[in-house]
Structures are given as C-alpha cells and as structure tokens.
Amino acid sequence: MSNNRHHPIAAIATIAAIVSTVLLPLAANAQDDDKITLSGSIQSDMLLPQSDKDIGAEKTEDFQTNTYVDLFLQHKDFEAGARLEYLEHPLPGFDDSGFKGWGVPHYYVKGKLDWAELTVGTYYEQFGSGLILRTYEERSLGIDNSLLGGRLVLRPTKGLQLKALGGRQRRYWEHNKAWLTGADVELGLDEWMPALQRHDMRLTLGGSWVNKHENPNDDHIPVLRNGKSYELNLPRYVNAWDARINLNIKDWSVLAEYAQKTDDPQYVNGYIYKKGSAALLSTSYSRKGLSLLLQAKRSENMASTSRRTENSTHNASSINHLPAFTLDQTYALAALYPYATQTTDGEWAYQAELGYNFKRKTALGGKYGMNLKVNYSYVRAIDRQFENGYTGNAIGGQTALAGTGGYTSKFFKWGDQTYYQDLDIQLSRKFTKDFKLNLMYMNQRYNITQIQQHKGGIVHCDIFVADGSYQLARNTILRVEAQYLSTKQDQGDWVFGLAELSLAPHWMFTLSDMWNCGDNDPYMRAGEDNTHYHYYQALVTYNIGSHRLQAGYGRTREGINCSGGVCRKIPAQKGFTLSYNYNF
C-alpha cells in the first residue's frame, strides 16, 4: 500500500461515486450531442536489474517499474479524470525519500460553461512563463507538483481571461501544509481595439499574483551564532507577482516579463531574507523558411517551494519554473552535459537561434532543399556580494548566511563564472528520394562544478553527429547515427554508434553502443575508474494500433537527465527493460 493509505481509497471512492451517480446515468441517457467519452493511457516502464561492478550498477530489487494509468471522462459540460500510479518498486534514480508508493494521487472534476470553468481536485496550472507558478507533471524526472484544491477560469468577454485558484501542493504521496492562492489576468487588447487588428497587431497584457501561506510555527529553524542559540522568525506569507506584455506584429513577436517575490527564507536559499526577481525579454521572427529567436533572462533568488524545509534535490515542492535558454538535446552525446537552470544562485542567460530553409533546386538546397539551424546559448553567474563575511566559496558554507539578507547584486553586472555556453549548428538535407542526412556540430563549455557539484570546472567539448536514414524498401528504413565527443576534461572522449531498422508499420530494431574512449579525468581514483566501458543497448519495438511494446537489454551510464533545465540524477543501470504504452 502507498505511504498515504487514505488518498487512493478516498479518490477511488470519489471517482466511483461521480461515475455511478452522475456520469453513467448521463451517459445512458446521452443524446448524440450530449455523449460522454472515455479516454486514457497506460505507461509502464519496467526493469529487471542486474549488478555490474564495472559501471557501478547495483541490483537492489528483482523487479522495478514506474507505471501510470490515466482515465478521462469527457462531456461538453464537464470532465473528470484520475491517474493510478504504481511506484512501489521505482526505477533506479527514483529513490527520493517518499517517492515510493502507489495509489490515485491525481483526480479531478471540471465543470464547463462557454465563459467559465471550475476545477475541483488536483490540477496543473501555469501563469505566464511560469516564473511565479508552474505546476506540471514530468514523469521522466519524477515530477508531479500538482495542486489539490479548486481553480476557477472565467472568460467573461472576448479578450479577457481571469483565473483564481487555491490549494495545497502535492509532494510525492502527501500534500504540503502550505496553502497557495493565486490569480491571473490576461487582457487581449487587440480584441477591444480595432486599430490594432487593422494593423495586424496583437497585444496581450498579463498580470499574476501568488501567495504562499505557511505557518511559521510549523518549523523551528535553529541558528547557532557566537555561542548563542537563536530561532529564525519566519514569515507567514510570501507574495509573488508577475507582469508581462506580449506584442505580435505580423511576423514579429516580443515578450517582456518581470516577476518578483518577497523575502522567502527556505532551505534551498540557505534561509536568507531577500527578495527574488526574474526578468525575461524574448523576441522572435518567423516567416516561411526563416525563423529567428533572440532572448535574455536574469534571475536572482527565485527558487520557490511550498515547504520551506524542502531539501529534495529532485525538485519536490517546487512552485515555479524558470525556462532554460538552452536547447534540450536528443542526441546521446550532445545530451551528455545538459544544463540545469540555476534558480537559487541566479543567472544571466542569453539565447540566439536562427533557422533557415535553403530552397529546393538551388545550389545549396539541392533537389529537395536543406534546413539550417544555428543556436547559441550563454549562461553566466550574476554578481553577488555576500553579507556576513561569506564569499560564496568559503569554508563554513551557507549556515553562516541563515537569518541574514544573503547578498546584494547589481542588476546588469555579471558574476565571474560562466555556467554554460554552446554553439550548435545543425544541417538537415535530403540527398535522394531515399536518403536523408542530418549533420550537427556543437561546441560546448559546461561548468560541471556549478551544475553537478563535481570537481573539474569548465568542461570544453566539441561534439560531432552524423545521422543518416535510408529507405531500403517501401516499408523499410535503416537509420544510422555516428557521434563523437572530444574533450580534455572530465572523462575525456566518447564515441557513440546506433543502427535502427524500421519495418513499418509494426517493428523496429535498435542497436547502440556508447564507449568512453578518453582517459583524461584527473579526479578519478583507483577503483573508481569508469572510463573505457561500453554502454550497449539492444531494443526491439513493436507497434500495433495504439499499443507500443519495447523490450531491451543493456547498460545505461550514470548521469543527469534534464528537461527544460530541470534535472534528475540517474545512477548507472543494467538489465532487461520492458516498456508498454497504450492510448485509447
């Protein structure tokens, strides 16, 4: 049974009651335009683990799985949903204290009118870019920080949307004690100003506010200073607000957003009393065959949790999300050093991205055209001048800062560290009717000390990828990847190869190997040398209808898995894998 024995039973009972008393009778009497549809999905990832001393994989259980079953009932006037999660024997890396369990943690009922929507139960929400509120589910990272409570969305007139919500945030199989309330207004001014429409302009103004109420008496944070014993006087309320403006003129779009929050002493910021802020400016241009994105962001002390003592390294209790201005890479070696947004320490982040389509039947475009994509990201520390004699690097650490204002920071001044930089060039071209090639080069500078708390400073990589697919027959495609990562730091060079044979519409066979061919890590010690090992994988995938079944065997390297700048550390693993997905 789960760590929380009440939620699953209560939720199942609630859902059963709703289904039996409300939905099924309605379904039975439904007219064509009044019918109830049932949809859902199953996702189950399983591992039969094996120990492997070479790569550090440990078998702790005979069978591990992360399994989710979603069910939705939909009607034009209402909607209900629930999710069963079975995480009693979770996959390696999902070993946070409290993660284990099973039950129905997600359940909701939503009533809908043309101009209003009321949700009761658990729900996900994002205000603006998420700088002050973003609750979401990301299974690959073990994140589900939904709110349990109520949410009202009103669209009383064209161009106006109002949201109000309240609830407590999910933390694994419990809900944190803090109450979150919030409101969001979005005004589409172009709906009210015909002059804007005439000039093909859309102007949206948005404003949000989130309040956290957390009883200061719930936590006693002792501080020992100069031989005397103190407790922190903690704030009962933390308020955050966000203002944004989004202007679209023909092919151009500009978004400016600023958020701020009041003093929020919490574990993640070392219990400092300091306002947080985030500013974001993003400009994009898009027309057929050409796209451009330029954006910049500055954040300072904006980590925000619904539990001030939260010490999870897995983003539990996180209220907000700061978007990463770096690409999420899909190629194995390009994703070897992924960036994690530095929400606590703050960062200056810049991104420029250009996409261009060389037309067909031109010198560069060839017979079928060619696509070029160039991305440049740069993330830098903000300036921080610490109080209390703390230098940010000093022995003694953050305990010296608890109860102080932490640090001061000049808005436009950079700190002395580069956190991340990459230049990414991708070319995609179809050479013949049957052959397509993607080429990629990435130059990367990765501050492994800041991002992974691992010695080594800046890791400088050059990464080369060639990805070709060849249609062998009408239903048969062979795809081959070759990748090379070159670096003098950390674990040195890596090489990766993959071959994937697709026999449409049902079968796919994949073989891959990642080999650490470098030997440059000066910090590796005897007995811990993990270089020169092969991380091989063999996968067979079978698709039929909405079912997808994948079986495999292989090794997975220890590393961090990131999505949108949010990461989870995954240990080395080896064994048989089975994955099943079904949508209905």
Binding site: I221, S229, Y273, T313, G396, T399
Partner: protein
C-alpha cells in the same frame, strides 16, 4: 455578459491580492534568541592517566545526564558536508561532552579505503538507514517526525529536544592500548541502570572505534578543495559487530560489564583513537559515552 458584470469581475480579481497580508520582517527581527532548556555545559577534560580512568570507571552509581550521539553521514567528495560538521562543532561548543559526534564515511560522495575514509561499515549503515543524500544525520536515532534521518538544519533542534529527555542508563568506558601488544586495545564497557524506580532497560550495546585528527582531502562548495582538511571522530570499525549485542539491566545500579580485545589497524594512530559505546533500541539511542584510548607514553 454585460459590461457591468465584466467590470465587477475584473475589480474583484484586482482586489484578490489584498485579501492576504504581507509578512515584512525587519533585519533586526529575523533572529529570536532562545534559551536552551539545558544550559551550556563546559567540556570536561579527558582523564590523563589510567588511575584517573579507573576512578571514573569505578565511581559510585548516580543519575547522569543524557548524552547525544550524532551520526554524521558524510563524505570527502560531498561539498556541503563541512557545513554539517560545522554544526556538530557548534553544538559541541554549546553542550560540551554531552555531544558525541561520529563521522560515518561511505561510498556515496566519498572515497573508499585505503585511499579515503569510506569503509564497508559506513556503506552498510548508509544503506540500512536508506539515506539518499549527504550530509544527513541521525540524532540519537530518534524520529523527528519525518524519519530518523535528518537534514543538518534540524540537528540543533533535535539535540535540544533530546537533551531534555531523561535517561535510565549510564555507560562507562575504560580503554587502553595493550602494553604487550600495541596492535590491540583492551576495552571495558559497563552498562549501568540508573533508574531509581528499577525499570528494566533492554537494547543493544554497540561499541565503535573512531579516530580524530586525520589529515585528508575534502571538497567544498563551488569546486573548492582542501588537501589538508582535518577530519575528526571518523568511524573506523565496530568492535562488537555491525549491530552490537544484546544488553539488559533492571534495577538501580544493576550493571553488565563487557570486555573486548580490539585489533588496531596499521594505518590508525592509537593516540587519536577513541571508543564510542552506546545502547539503542528500536526507537532511539538511550545513552552514549566516549573515552579516548589510553596510550602509554
């Protein structure tokens, strides 16, 4: 919807933020001094010679204060672990030898023996307590409401709470490097019931050897590294097995005595070794004591 309703809704939303208050805490109100219920204790000096050790070992039975065992799960590659060590030092400054810290090094964020301070014993305890990140501590193995494994920010609070709890046990230790065999230590441990009402105490006696003043590398935040960090009270070995042995006393002054002949590994410095003995049950560590290994000069 008519314009009037829309306007009303809009104004109601605009007022929402005012329904809750702010909590502005001025700079000089952030720290509230609290008086610990247990007054700060001066650190008693270790007895210098075998006669003084014998005298303490054989002293009349009386009620004693409860001492705290801090099991500090730490690692040389754990940048935030020196913070936790700092907290144990501050607690020791406040409460003297009522605080008995033991630094348990293991594989996670550590360096294993012989290059480092991690050992299989540390790995076993780390796995047993299902610890997933360092630093992490057990404060007399008492459940603070969210399990026995506590984040370092809770250690001071837990310590202050446990120090107020009475104990029915005294533990006395006599430990010396053997005169005729310098590779072994003779360790005597007495477990004495001090409960005047005569209540029985059942549990397990665990005896560990720890070592102070080990100069070895240590990581710090932001990639800093110190090659000559001084590591204290590092767990070296369990003298009577990983989980100790049964002990039971009932009635005032009821005493059980244990004798051990503990081998000393070549790399350890006998003058820096200490014996830590404690009695624990399923709920907590009932009492703990520490005595430096007496080395004939």
């Amino acid at each position: 919807m008519n314009k009037k309703t829309v306007s009303l809704l809009f104004y109601l939303f605009a007022l929402l933020p005012f329904l809750t208050a702010c909590s502005e805490i001025s700079e000089n109100e952030r720290l509230v001094e609290v008086q610990p219920d247990i007054a700060p204790q001066p650190d008693e000096p270790e007895p210098e010679d075998s006669a003084a050790i014998d005298s303490l070992y054989e002293a009349p039975v009386e009620a004693v204060a409860r001492r705290i065992l801090i099991e500090d799960h730490t690692g040389q590659k754990c940048p935030n672990c020196p913070d936790a060590t700092d907290i144990t030092h501050q607690l020791a400054e406040l409460y003297g030898n009522l605080i008995i810290p033991v630094a348990i090094h293991s594989k996670d964020l550590g360096i294993m023996e012989p290059e480092g301070l991690g050992n299989e014993l540390g790995n076993t305890y780390y796995a047993h307590w299902n610890i997933t990140s360092k630093p992490a501590g057990l404060i007399s193995r008492m459940d603070g409401g969210a399990g026995v494994v506590m984040d370092k920010t809770l250690w001071a609070m837990a310590t202050q709470y446990i120090l107020q709890q009475p104990t029915s046990l005294d533990i006395r230790i006599k430990a010396a490097q053997q005169k005729d065999d310098a590779t072994h230590a003779a360790i005597d441990v007495k477990v004495i019931c001090t409960d005047s009402a005569g209540a029985a105490v059942n549990g397990k006696l665990q005896v560990w050897l720890t070592e102070d003043s080990i100069v070895a590398e240590q990581d710090f935040p932001n990639g800093q590294h110190q090659a000559d960090y001084v590591h204290n009270h590092v767990l070296r070995t369990a003298v009577n097995g990983t989980w100790g042995e049964d002990v039971s006393v009932s009635g005032f002054a009821d005493t059980r005595e244990f004798h051990y002949d503990a081998p000393l590994a070549a790399g350890w410095k006998p003058g820096n070794l200490a014996v830590v003995a404690f009695v624990y049950n399923d709920e907590q560590v009932v009492q703990v004591a520490r005595r430096k290994l007496n080395v004939e000069k």
